[in-house]
Amino acid sequence: MSDVATRKNSRDGAAVAKNGTAPVSSKVSGPIESYRADFKRQPAAPDWLQSLRAQGMSRFDTLGFPTTKNEDWHFTSVASIAERTFRAAMTSKTGVSSEGSTAGMVARADLARFTFGEPAWHTLVFVNGEFSEHLSSYAGLGEKVRVNSLANSIRSGIGRPERHLGKIATFENHAFTALNTAFIRDGAFIELQADAVVEHPIHLIFVSEGQGEAISHPRNLIVAAENSRASIIESYISIRDSPYFTNAVTEISLGQGARIDHYKIQRESEKSFHVGTTQIRQARDSQLHSFSLAVGGLLARTNIYTSLDGDAATCTLNGLYLTDGVQHIDNQTSIEHLAPNCPSHEIYKGVLDGRSHGVFNGKVYVHPEAQKTDGKQSNNNLLLSPTARVDTKPQLEIFADDVKCTHGATVGRLDELAMFYLNSRGIGRETARTLLTYAFAADVLETIELEPMKKELERMVLARFASTAAA
């Protein structure tokens, strides 16, 4: 398989023998050593965090980067991440780098093309994983809502993030989450008290300023108490094309009756690497509405994992991934039905062009106590070129006897009959292709309730299809 071949070719070509077995020389310190060194160089933190980071590092050391032998990574080789030595991203305060502040290198104008919605929306901007106060604006959230940078909370103890951090995003079997945990430093910390309703969406923008091969580990924590409600958007973007690496983790705790609409918009540089995990725990009657758009990255993986941990908790996980060129975009979802009467609905769609490779792996586990589960899952893919590829693996594991679950996956090409029908009405091939491709993606975008978000994504998707059809 081709990914085995790439795994054998180290990027520098130096330390790997031709037969791919053992390094001939190990003079150059490998990437793992560089993570260890960076880990040790982190400035001191409160004991609880030192200890959590150490657990993360130790687990990452044991697990190492996953290989395609790992079932969860069967279709995605992360060799290009594993064999690369990323620099800890330059930041203003950590002292990891001596090159000074980078937050100042990103101006509001750089972000203009990535911001959308309405002026009243709350925006928190993170540059290379570090909170930028002067690029952010989030006034008027109300007294039941506390929004802070995680770094600030760690320093001041406000909100005591240690109560939740690392409790939802498990890293026992997740190397990238372990690695992120080893480098917890900053991100967004959003606390909603009971009955808090955040009227306007909170937009978290993670911008990589993209100088060289930098790595950042954004860590977000969202704690929504009983019956609270908010829409939260995470955008991952860059202002420069470069092979940087974003390794993000978001933990979300949903209290009884709480509702979070979570949007993840991954539009990183097409040279970059992105691994992002959103892990959610849902109490009874809570609602999670998740939408994931993945269009960026050379190699990108999005994990959305939720546990329906209380009676009648509901979730919808919808997503769209668009790949082109030599992109590889992998989407993994997991829904754990741990309690009875929980509906879960999932639609993921993929449009794959060029020589790109898309992956969908959706797991639904219905535990023995999860009677009356109503689970629906579907994954549909459209291949636009003969060299594009998709691997889809919907997985349904049911251990309860009174459930209603369906799942299915399709892979297809543009309908030539529909193409001719459009052509016969005077619509040329390019326009027809855009129209049909857009139509394929449209119904999953249609599920987005937040109107300005829907409009923005529709615009983005249409623009992307129009540009590739013309190419």
Binding site: S424, R425, G426, A439
Partner: protein, 255 residues
């Protein structure tokens, strides 16, 4: 307007049209009749430029142009319209968006300005009445969930909006009840003019009670075996196709 000369065409290795010659002038309505499998629909598809069919021999000239060299969208932009026997469902594309795109593409190709959605709505309102369709259909996906009759009426509606110079109706009457048939025929008749021509492809004579043809051609086994006036259709109705099956008059053309 249209001149077909010794046309041979088929799918893969299978030759379906085996030498068709036909001349259609502006202002005329031609009916192409024949039993199942005689090649009627193939002729319609080839005229519209369906890439699944391969033309192996012969020529088609349309307003002085070599039609076979033109892509289907260019043919449409030049005024050719095919009402499909089986209109295609396109989930996710609304009728309004679809038809406005078509309308504007055709205008653009003819050096005219595009119209905006509101202007377009004004323009289609009257055409909807012509085929007795509700405005609500505009926001529905193209042909999705439409009944057989609705699909056919939608074809005629599109034709009315795009106002082609040469309309080809492929079995538009099949699967229609008498009321729908009347509506469809009325739509077609309203659009008849001395500048336009229509080719009605049909198995049955009954549509021709409503759309009265100037010429009737009988297709059998990929050839036109008989041509005549409108009375030929009645004769076919009475005698069926059998009496013509074994007649091989070669390429019977009519001017």
């Amino acid at each position: 307007m249209l001149e077909i000369n010794d046309l041979h065409a088929g799918i893969g290795d299978r030759e379906i049209l085996k030498g068709i010659s036909l001349r259609v002038n502006a202002g005329e309505v031609h009916a192409v009749m024949g039993p199942n499998g005689s090649g009627k629909s193939t002729l319609a598809q080839v005229l519209a430029g369906n890439p699944s069919y391969e033309v192996t021999k012969g020529t088609i000239t349309y307003n002085g142009q070599n039609l076979l060299e033109l892509d289907p969208e260019v043919r449409a932009q030049n005024g050719i319209f095919l009402a499909f026997q089986y209109p295609v469902e396109i989930p996710g594309v609304s009728n309004a968006y679809f038809l406005r795109s078509a309308y504007n593409e055709i205008r653009k190709a003819n050096g005219m300005e595009e119209v905006d959605p509101l202007e377009f709505l004004d323009l289609v309102e009257e055409k909807l009445k012509l085929v007795d369709m509700d405005q609500a259909m505009l926001s529905r996906s193209v042909n999705q969930g439409f009944s057989g009759g609705e699909k056919k009426r939608n074809e005629i509606f599109q034709m009315a909006v795009l106002s082609p110079r040469l309309a080809i109706l492929d079995e538009t009457d099949s699967g229609l009840d008498i009321d729908a048939l009347r509506i469809v025929a009325q739509g077609v008749n309203t659009l008849r003019s001395p500048e336009n021509a229509t080719i009605v492809v049909t198995h049955y004579q009954r549509l021709l009670n409503y759309i009265v043809p100037d010429f009737v051609h009988v297709l059998s086994n990929g050839r036109i075996v008989k041509s005549g006036g409108k009375e030929l259709a009645l004769e076919l109705e009475e005698k069926g196709y059998d009496w013509l099956q074994n007649v091989d008059v070669g390429a019977g053309a009519v001017a």
